[in-house]
């Protein structure tokens, strides 16, 4: 009997082996995700389903509840990473290995990015035009209410000093890029066919520089522009209609004046929000993606999306949803929106490069960099690499982050005191490289007091007589909790200066988030997390100024 069991046991093993060969069963190696990719939002699907990692424009943050419901109903976990359109394009061009799907604001970036033919199943989820939202009373004063407004009308208001506005960076974000291209067409008096020669026209340069000088504040993302707008005191912003609606809901809730929506008829563009699958050859992911997309495109969910102020469906906004598009805010869903056509790729890229290097209002960047002892080794190496991406112009160009010709860059190296301050005016590549060399040569050591560095930055700013010609920002990178001896002094100085200067901070190592949040709140700025990828954090911050 024992023998039989032995034999049968043997047989069993043979059978099992045969079966495993026959069924073509193979070990499946789990795909490791990149690890360095920051995830900005996770919507958990039920019980061990697939995870779809979506690289998305920031405007989709507003769809959080819908995505949460989507994850619940489909069982697919959704991980959202928010980036600007240009970043999404370059990520796609380099293979988008960390993502299963992309969801930029406009199909343009998807087409320009898909040089590797990775995109499948791209479908527009909703549409929204890029518009001007102007404080109601100001819009009335400017005569913009209840009539067709052109970009030239807006330019006239800006030139006469009656209007200033906030807009995202044209080289980082789709809403900024769309508005900027609209401005160029309108200033040239053309309705289509922007050429490279047009862009060299000195008259155009003068006009567009004038128009862009009306920008109070910039931003690398449309959603944050809205947040910043709400936290500050500004006249107007260029943004998606859906985000103006969102901002207005908050403004009305706070008892504040809402924005009036102006659709410039000669420079209008529409964001079509395409969600596309990035094919890395994983059939399960593909199926999970299609489940998400099908959910979002279902009639019921399209109706829900419409209620967030986005336009969906062929028949326009449903009668019962018109309440979400209040006409007293100038919103008109029955008007035919006739957008401009975007220029061809080489013309577009030239236009964006010109925006970055010579048309936009020059930045005044004050980098306060932490050289405390804890930065020694890896920390300092990352910092030097990050500054190489920002200051070395051949690197910056890859991400359309070049310096503007009149830009000022100041480096304030600090530990528990200011170690040294360096300045570079203009965008001469060699001079900027010298500034980078300084960053690379500085040795870490000592304690941490970021407030003393920020005070130095304020003093530097006070020395600049024509500050209104720049968009200033303090970019503060620190890796540890600061001594607070100079904190109150700094806050008092900031308030006394009375200028709208954001302090963007980059958190690294064991920095104290509360300290940085406090500065961000005080100065209407934001904190970037550099702990996973300091280089990427610096790139993002640079996109904001």
């Amino acid at each position: 009997m024992k023998q039989i069991i032995k034999k049968w046991g043997c047989l069993l093993i043979v059978v099992l082996m045969l079966l495993s060969i026959l069924s073509g069963c193979s070990m499946e190696l789990g795909q490791e995700s990149g690890g360095t990719t920051p995830i900005d939002g996770i919507y958990q699907g039920s019980g061990g389903g697939e995870t779809i990692r979506i690289l998305s424009g920031s405007e989709n943050k507003e769809l959080g509840e819908i995505l949460e419901q989507c994850a619940k109903e489909t069982g697919v976990t959704i991980e959202m990473t928010y980036k600007g359109s240009v970043d999404i394009m370059t990520e796609l061009q380099s293979g988008a290995a960390d993502y299963d799907a992309v969801w930029p604001a406009s199909g343009l970036w998807l087409s320009l990015g898909d040089t590797n033919h990775l995109i499948k199943y791209d479908e527009s989820i909703s549409t929204t035009p890029v518009v001007f939202g102007i404080k109601q009373s100001l819009a009335e004063k400017l005569g913009f209410v209840g009539k067709d407004v052109s970009v030239s009308d807006i330019l006239t208001a800006i030139e006469s000093g009656k209007l200033s506005f906030c807009m995202t960076s044209a080289t980082q974000s789709n809403s900024g890029a769309s508005a900027y291209i609209g401005f160029l067409y309108a200033l040239l008096g053309k309705s289509e066919g922007l050429t490279e020669a047009d862009l060299d026209d000195p008259e155009l340069k003068e006009k567009i520089t004038g128009l862009l000088s009306g920008i109070d504040r910039s931003s690398g993302s449309s959603d944050w522009l809205k947040e910043m707008f709400l936290a500050g005191d500004f006249d107007a912003m260029v943004n998606y209609e859906c985000l103006i609606i969102d901002a207005n809901n908050t403004l009305v809730e706070q008892g504040k004046e809402p924005l009036y929506v102006v659709y410039p008829y000669d420079g209008l563009s529409i964001a079509d929000s395409p969600l596309g699958y990035v094919d890395h050859g994983d059939a399960k992911k593909q199926e999970a993606f299609l489940q998400i997309q099908e959910y979002l495109l279902s009639e019921e969910v399209q109706n829900e999306i419409q209620k967030t102020g986005r336009r969906t469906g062929f028949e326009g906004v449903a009668e019962e949803n018109k309440v979400y598009f209040p006409s007293e805010w100038g919103i008109n869903v029955d008007k035919v929106l006739s957008p401009i056509s975007m220029p061809s790729e080489p013309v577009l890229m030239k236009a964006l490069n010109l925006y970055q290097t010579s048309f936009r209002k020059p930045s005044l960047n004050m980098y306060c960099l932490d050289y405390s002892g804890s930065m020694q080794g890896e920390g300092n190496a990352q910092l030097v690499e990050a500054m190489a991406q920002v200051l070395l112009q051949e690197n910056a160009e890859q991400n359309l982050l070049q310096a503007e010709q009149e830009e000022i860059n100041i480096i304030i190296a600090f530990d528990d005191e200011v170690i040294s301050t360096y300045m570079c005016e203009g965008n001469n590549a060699e001079k900027l490289e010298e500034l980078y060399q300084v960053v690379a040569a500085e040795e870490p050591g000592g304690g941490t007091d970021m407030y003393i560095a920020a005070e130095e930055a304020l003093w530097q700013i006070s020395q600049i007589s024509n500050l209104e010609d720049y968009t200033p920002a303090i970019i503060l990178m620190t890796d540890g909790a600061s001594e607070t001896g100079h904190k109150e002094e700094f806050i008092q100085q900031y308030k006394e200066l009375g200028k709208d200067i954001p302090i963007f901070s980059i958190m690294f190592g064991s920095a104290e988030p509360e300290q940085l949040e406090e500065l961000a709140e005080l100065t209407n700025a934001r904190v970037f997390d550099g702990s996973k990828d300091l280089v990427a954090a610096f790139r993002s911050v640079k996109g904001y100024n």
Binding site: I4, K7, W8, L11, V14, V15, L18, L19, I21, L22, G24, G107, L108, S111, H117, L118, I119, K120, D122, E123, S124, T127, S191, E192, G193, L194, T195, Y265, D266, L268, I270, D272, D279, F314, E315, G316, K335, V336, L337, S338, P339, I340, S341, M342, P343, S344, E345, V347, L348
Partner: protein
């Protein structure tokens, strides 16, 4: 002793059965082939009914990446078994680049059409550019080209709600076939309605360039352009060039949505027009299997009935209509020959 004997017998039986099963599996094993596809054919390749036939009858599964007809020829072809562009010109470009392929075959055809919206079609009808015959819309390409060359604005033809000038949006003629064929059609029209050749192409290029230079950014995929046209309403894309199959497929696959838009969307046959020939290019022996599979009579029937491609055995004349779609021409009138390969290359170079 007996048990030992039984054990051996069972073992032998299992090994034989297993081997037989393995043999059976290897005979019917589904082979996956992979290649580049023009976007307008994705619906067909995603069709489960067709996939089932390919799997059952031909033991293949056809995977794809999307690429424009010309883009795919210049793309990295390593690991690809086939290319499926939408024109003979693309095939000739392949021949020119790589030499003759292992096999190639025309799978189906579809004419180039214009898509527009009712109010735009009405305005063009008032201008005498568009006319209706038996419920089918036709566009006089001479007159339409003239409107475009003169940079006539939409408001000049009674559409003040549309900004800009009359232009037919197309895909990038240097990358994608539908845009490319429309460019060829315009070139023929500019050549007094005669197919352009080596001696005449030079003369039409300045005007052709002036039209295309105004288009700005052009999509590289016919499916993206069509989807945007459907999705963005009349303001977005007042008039585009595409394939007849696109609307037919849309109506067959999305009957409910089609009901909602059918009063607004108008399919217009340009006169003259050109036929798009969808030709399958096998890059290796595996890829070759796609040809027989796609020429299967059931696949050909479904290609027409569900995806709107006119095939050898199935098209509108044999069926007497296409489902719920109105305004489908029995046979487009005034079909022209495409310029030959060398001339097409000159057009593409000129428009780059």
């Amino acid at each position: 002793m007996k048990s030992k004997y039984i054990g051996i017998v069972i073992l032998v039986v299992i090994v034989l059965a297993g081997g037989g099963y393995y043999f059976y599996r290897s005979q019917t094993k589904v082979q996956v082939i992979n290649g580049y596809l023009g976007g307008e054919k994705i619906g067909l390749f995603e069709d489960e009914e067709i996939q089932e036939i390919l799997k059952k009858e031909y033991h293949i599964q056809i995977d794809y990446s999307r690429a424009g007809s010309f883009d795919m020829i210049t793309a990295d072809l390593s690991g690809r078994d086939y290319l499926f562009p939408s024109s003979q010109t693309a095939l000739e470009l392949y021949n020119d680049t790589y030499g003759k392929p292992i096999a190639e075959e025309i799978i189906f055809n579809t004419p180039i059409v214009l898509y527009s919206h009712k109010n735009v079609a009405d305005a063009l009808e008032r201008e005498g550019v568009v006319s209706q015959v038996d419920g089918v819309y036709y566009a006089d390409m001479d007159k339409l080209t003239e409107l475009m060359l003169n940079e006539t604005t939409w408001s000049e033809i009674g559409l003040p709600e549309l900004y800009g000038t009359v232009l037919v949006d197309t895909t990038d003629p240097t990358k994608s076939n539908s845009g490319n064929m429309f460019a060829a059609l315009l070139a023929n029209v500019l050549n007094d309605g005669k197919t352009v050749d080596e001696s005449t192409v030079h003369g039409v290029m300045p005007e052709l360039k002036s039209i295309f230079s105004r288009m700005g950014y052009m999509e590289t995929s016919s499916s993206d352009l069509f989807n945007q046209f459907i999705r963005m309403g009349v303001g977005g894309k007042p008039i585009i060039a595409g394939y007849e199959s696109q609307l037919l497929e849309y109506a067959a696959e999305n009957p409910e949505e089609y009901e909602k838009i059918k009063d607004d969307i108008v399919m217009i046959y340009p006169t003259p027009t050109v036929w798009s020939t969808h030709v399958y290019i096998a890059l290796d022996e595996e890829g070759k299997q796609g040809i027989d599979a796609l020429l299967d009579s059931e696949v050909q029937r479904l290609a027409w009935e569900k995806h709107g491609f006119r095939t050898g055995g199935y098209d509108i004349s044999s069926e007497g209509g296409f489902g719920n779609v109105v305004g489908v021409a029995q046979q487009p009138t005034g079909v022209m020959n495409m310029p030959d390969y060398e001339v097409m290359m000159k057009i593409i170079e000129g428009l780059k």
